[in-house]
Subunit: 490 residues, 2 copies
């Protein structure tokens, strides 16, 4: 284990937390953190520190951390800007070596004096500060949601480091709603008083719980060290960065946001690429990539087999694959013959493979992928298909047209359940086929929310589902990273 | 009203429909059309025609359309390929002049003889054929969903013409789930035996119910006529096209899909642009644009005011605005002073305007947009904000940690309802402010589904909500079209 990981891991696995800044007015920032720690199931001890109140929201409080009779691992500071240095002083006295400073109002508004004071006290007592002007950390595996946003994501292998507090915690909404993104750790580094993105990248590189890393990247305080660490890390774990604030207005915004001067895109992006970092300008694309790369193996080549239940979507996906430097190869005559022998006469088998209106689902989920993955003619699969019948069924069942009554009887709960079981089984088989062949599969669909039980099921078992226009780009990023790794190996 | 509109409108407003191809096996294609007509609330008469069965799914059937004692407006043919010409012959005898031919197996598989026969019979009897190899039409305003997919969209001002049947009907899922896209008409033209995309574009141009047009575009059979009609149409109504099948594999796919040879992208796209057509390669982006342009006015210039509740998202949106040729202008000192006087000291007011953690929602929804729209310094607004409290509330209410019990009491139904009412009112005001100033507003958020009552509310009242990375691109398309119109006017 690296030194950095050991130095910083208390931020992620604290056994006890002291919080500064709670109040009896429920919707205060520090209370949001408190609520989320409690409802998220945090197993450690929580101490509320307040100079005047003796009870807050039912908790007994302490006037000072020094009064707490037991040791404290981590301080969470959400108190007013001017008192932060003296609170840190107190933490030092108590022997707390890790402090999350949520409080803003330092370098981002030009208060450099305040920032220096912070650093001074921290150095004196050997305190690692996360922030200031950050939102905290999330570690689903240890039920730690120390941010103002509820909805902790499922545990998984992704580490995210963010200069932006909003991007660090607002993404919980989109994960809850649309993505099955398994998270190991999210950390919001804010204005980086004495720990920064480089430190956490170094720690994540050595963290055995993390297999892919995402960065929301504003200004780089130590560009050289960053590139050095990134280069080393990307040889083992994919890193994808969404640089923010590197255009003209964006740089202005970043300056007033975290007080750093960002590097212009034209300089930054080539440097990132050289360090093996994938670059995207879309927050969602970053999350989509991380989902795919932690769920599926990397492709060994650029050749995509596109399998669909409709002509238009297959054509669109094929176009987009080519746009993103992938290939959609014409299949060999013999493979086409094999496909033709099982599919209806209306099907297309050249690639894209469009099974058209074929109710033999076994073809779509089992026979076709078996033929493709064993052929050696493709390196990955992108699927498109309407695959959950629940919405269709429910629509009929809820219709109040009496003419449909006799038909409705056929769509009872049992049938819906039976279809669900069959579909779940088919997907399990498809997943096994891909896994055995070590060929990545991305699924696409036009409805994505996890409220659909089938989508929840397949995503929870490692098959990502994206919009049709998203999958080709994500596969292209996976192939880009695979090439980087291949070059290193050769 | 144009001749074309008169010629073709029976496809959209038939008073009676004869269906060929139903069966007592529920999940047959023609039955899906039947079910959707019935459950969608179609008010006209439906006659099932079958050579042998005398009852299908409870309906009395007719051996031939000629036996139906009343006049029939439209035939829907989902019967086997080889019998289609003789069924058309029968339609001719009955005096039916409009036939939707869902049946496939003509030019897309090289059956040119079949196609010619189809055209011959149609010419002989003066029948307009939609298809073959199409999925039908949707007209929410007249409760006509004549496609295999349920979930008809809300009525509205958008017309969509698609070479791809899948894109024409699968989009119903994404509309139902994610988009409040008001539809006037969707038509799937398939292999275009004797009516084509040019005809329907001409009809839509004159259709008073349609104010914006989307095209899923495969091969163009009459490119010159298409460009001519498009040029005329785009002077009044925005047209956005998602060309499909114009790369190498895509062209191969398109050929086996609708039997047409598509024009390579390098030739097609400049021609489309010259005709004032906006081009996208993403199906979702096309729908997003149509939603925005039918809900909001066009911007009069490229200057965007970005308003957020977080630094990172504002920076990202600003970066993307510049990437897509929009401006995020530095606001004047006097406007900055005005903004500073109402916002907290942590806020940024240069543009992006980040209100940071300001619980005075009145600033975000009322005061800031009033100052911005009246300033003359911006031409449009892009908002980012977590604005529905329902998820937060529910998360607390559903927590089983007993320590939270006293706090939970404060989150009762009444409070949730009160907050909802307040938020709804704030949004109504924001909408009014934008509308009075004739300045387009796009909202962005990381959770989008209409299951959220607030998102459903604002979208149903004309405020589109997109992902943060989507809105800048959509605003850019709106500005692109606005410039095209400005050039024509000058």
């Amino acid at each position: 284990m690296s030194e950095k990981y050991e130095e910083l891991k208390t931020f992620f696995y604290p056994k006890s937390i002291a919080i500064y800044g709670n109040s009896n007015i429920p919707f205060k920032f520090a209370n949001m953190h408190l609520f989320n720690l409690l409802s998220g199931g945090y197993k450690g001890k929580i101490y509320l520190i307040h100079p005047r109140e003796s009870k807050i929201l039912g908790f007994d409080t302490y006037k000072s951390a020094v009064d707490v009779p037991e040791p404290i691992d981590l301080a969470l500071i959400v108190a007013p800007t001017r008192v932060v240095p003296q609170l840190l002083e107190e933490c030092g006295k108590k022997g707390i070596h890790h402090a999350i400073c949520v409080t803003a109002g330092f370098s981002e508004i030009g208060n450099l004096e305040g920032r220096e004071k912070l650093q001074e006290v921290a150095t004196k007592h050997g305190i690692y500060i996360l922030g200031p002007n950050c939102i905290g950390v999330i570690v689903p595996g240890s039920d730690l949601n120390c941010t103002p946003v509820p909805l902790p994501p499922p545990p998984g292998k992704v580490g995210i480091i963010s200069h932006s507090g909003s991007w660090a915690c607002h993404i919980l909404f989109t994960i809850e709603e649309n993505l099955r993104l398994g998270i190991s750790k999210i950390v919001s580094v804010g204005n980086e008083a004495n720990t920064d993105m480089v430190d956490f990248l170094e720690a994540f590189a050595e963290d055995p719980e993390i297999s892919a890393i995402g960065l929301y990247l504003e200004g780089l305080r130590r560009p050289k060290e960053f590139i050095k660490v990134a280069k080393r890390t990307s040889q083992q774990k994919p890193i994808i960065a969404a640089p923010i604030g590197h255009g003209e207005a964006g740089m202005r915004a970043a300056l007033s946001h975290t007080g750093t001067i960002s590097t212009p895109t034209a300089v930054l992006n080539p440097a990132l690429k050289q360090a093996g970092i994938l670059v995207t300008d879309s927050p969602t694309e970053m999350l989509n990539f991380l989902q795919a790369v932690t769920m599926q193996p990397l492709p060994k080549g650029p050749r995509v087999g596109v399998v669909t239940v409709g002509g238009g979507p297959g054509t669109t996906i094929a176009d987009l694959c080519e746009k993103h430097n992938l290939e959609v190869p014409l299949l060999s005559e013999s493979l086409q013959d094999k496909l033709n022998s099982i599919l209806p006469f209306t099907a297309s088998v050249k690639n894209p493979i469009d099974i058209t209106f074929d109710m033999t689902w076994d073809n779509f989920y089992v026979k076709v992928p078996k033929l493709l993955t064993r052929s050696g003619e493709v390196d990955s699969l992108i699927y498109y298909g309407i695959f959950s019948m629940e919405k269709w069924f429910n629509y009929f069942v809820e219709s109040d047209n009496p003419i449909l009554d006799p038909i409705k009887k056929q769509f009872n709960e049992d049938m819906i359940e039976a279809t669900r079981v069959i579909m779940f089984d088919l997907f399990k088989t498809l997943l096994r086929i891909g896994r055995r062949a070590k060929i990545p599969i991305l699924f696409t669909n036009l409805f994505l929310t996890r409220s659909d039980s089938l989508i929840e099921f397949v995503q929870s078992r490692g098959l990502p589902v994206f919009l049709p226009e998203v999958a080709p780009r994500i596969m292209s990023l996976m192939w880009q990273y695979a090439q980087y790794r291949q070059k290193l190996d050769s």
